[in-house]
Amino acid sequence: MRLAWPARAALVVLGVVLALALLGPLASPWHAEQLDWQRMAVAPGLDGAHWLGTDRLGRDLFVRSLEGVRVSLAIAGLATLVSLVLGVGYGAIAGYAGGRVDALMMRAVDVFYSLPYVFFVILLTVVLERRPATVFLAIGAVGWLTMARVVRGETRRLREREFIEAAVAAGVPAPTILWRHVVPNLAGPVLVYATLTVPGLILLESFLSFLGLGVQEPAASLGNLLAQGAQEMEAAPWMLLVPCSFLIATVLALGFLGEGLRDALDPHEL
């Protein structure tokens, strides 16, 4: 499999962001919730080793932004994983079974789809405690619906293929066919779709946190950093620009990677 150059560049950017998120905070003398009483709301520079400046409370923005990247990526990544397991399982079974079972299962998905999504998430965060785990649950619960649809369509296509028919004709039981022949052949489209899901979920998490429904202070996520930065936009633009740059870099890189994977795995391309 050969990736086009934008996708390869995206891989490099992602690698850098991930390495920074994991190792960057070790390089700084500050940690995420530590207050620097001498330097509140200072601009990026070398003063006090606050390379990317501090917020109103004197917390180091470099460390907090990277903490935010970690939390946002973890939530989006885990939620994607959940949507992968649920979506692939559900979609593959519906697609393979076909007929009435398929119709019933997919109508259920349609019903979930028609629920007002944000309202549903707000409800969940209100009922449950506002912790990263809740946000993750809220996002994951809805994120798998599209995956299930993608997988179901793909499975229906696979079902028509002769190698599946050959397995049926050989007397292979349906669960074995699903596990050994259908799921491995879904890997391509599923991988691509998952790569494109992560940035969407990062944005969703940021959106919820921005509204104050997601990750709560003093914990950092890209969303609540943006929310705070937005309040100081005129006096201290770096408070918005720093987390914003990390968000854009991560989301764009994932987008390009997904695009590249789709092209590379597309059987119609040579």
């Binding site: 190698f163 050959a166 004709a169 007397g171």
Partner: protein, 322 residues
């Protein structure tokens, strides 16, 4: 003679967009143990549906599919799977009939893994290797994936998979049609050899009359879902009784252009969804009379083992124009 497999007045229909397509229209046939039966037909004749119905891959809308005396429709899932050990299928496109993500060895060994789960992995590997070798392949190919093999070797592997659980019936659905001529001959020879060795019954489906003639001792001709003629090989090729069989024979391209005076017959213009009241071939038949469009001709026995569905067979219309 007890039948190995049989179709009785089988009707299979496909529905979509509010329309009904009758793929098989009251088709009956009997396959004796060890027999090789050829099924000839063009696109839309229902020949692939026939193959799938026989293996229980599509359900009958009416009529029965029997295998070893059991009606497939009455069997439970587990019973049907057990019965499938005794039958196998080889498809037209060898590359598409293998899971692209599995090794050839795993695919070929799959029927054994299902039907003889007690067999140790090493023993299964040995059986796969032996069968690959028997079909003329290097056993080392077991570790390869289907896209690494060209058409001929891939079809050999498909034959190995079909044979591995020692079935009593192998259905070949256009099994040599996608292959190059030089390779096609190899595969035909291999099928002939295996049949002689194992005494397996063969249902050989093809649009190519020359290939069917080589492999089948009895031939059934399908047109728009109906059996129009069934006859022993010698009778069918020497003296066909149905005008459509005649047309098929005359249409086989020949290297000596002067000899193949293919008759000018209008192409099929009727929709596949249209149901024929009379004979399905009436619009294209050079011998059609008014009654042909009104009465569906019954399949009449005209000689031992030979039956034809044509109102005018007694006049010998198809035989005479040879």
């Amino acid at each position: 003679m007890t039948a190995l497999a049989a179709l009785e007045q089988l009707v299979v229909e496909f529905r979509g967009g509010g329309r009904v397509l009758r793929a098989l229209d009251e088709v009956s046939l009997v396959i004796a143990p060890g027999e090789s039966l050829g099924v000839v037909g063009e696109s839309g004749s229902g020949k692939s549906t026939l193959a799938r119905a026989l293996l229980g891959l599509v359900a009958a809308d009416r009529g029965r599919v029997l295998f070893g005396g059991a009606d497939l429709a009455t069997l439970g899932g587990a019973e049907l799977r057990r019965l499938r050990r005794r039958m196998a299928i080889i498809f037209q496109n060898p590359a598409a009939s293998f899971d692209p993500r599995q090794t050839i060895g795993d695919s070929v060994g799959e029927p054994l893994a299902v039907h003889e789960p007690a067999l140790a992995r090493a023993a299964r590997r040995a059986r796969v290797a032996a069968l690959l070798e028997r079909t003329g392949l290097d056993p080392a190919l077991a570790a390869r994936r289907p896209h690494e093999l060209s058409g001929g070797p891939c079809q050999r592997a498909a034959i190995a998979r079909a044979m591995i659980a020692s079935p009593q019936l192998v259905v070949c659905d256009e099994a040599v049609s996608a292959l190059d001529v030089s390779v096609q001959a190899q595969i035909v020879n291999l099928l002939l050899e295996l049949r002689r060795e194992n005494g397996v019954a063969l249902l050989f489906i093809s649009h190519n009359l020359a290939v069917v003639r080589r492999l089948a001792s009895r031939v059934l001709v399908l047109y728009r879902g109906r059996v129009v003629e069934v006859a022993p090989r010698e009778a069918l090729y020497a003296a066909p009784r149905h005008p459509y069989t005649r047309l098929l024979l005359d249409s086989v391209p020949s290297l000596v252009p002067a000899a193949s005076q293919a008759p000018r017959v209008p192409p099929e213009t009727a929709s596949p969804f249209a149901r024929d009241r009379g004979c399905a071939f009436v619009a294209r038949c050079p011998f059609a009379i008014r009654r042909c469009a009104e009465v569906a001709p019954p399949l009449e026995t005209v000689a031992p083992g030979q039956a034809v569905a044509c109102l005018r067979w007694r006049e010998g219309v198809a035989t005479r124009c040879a």
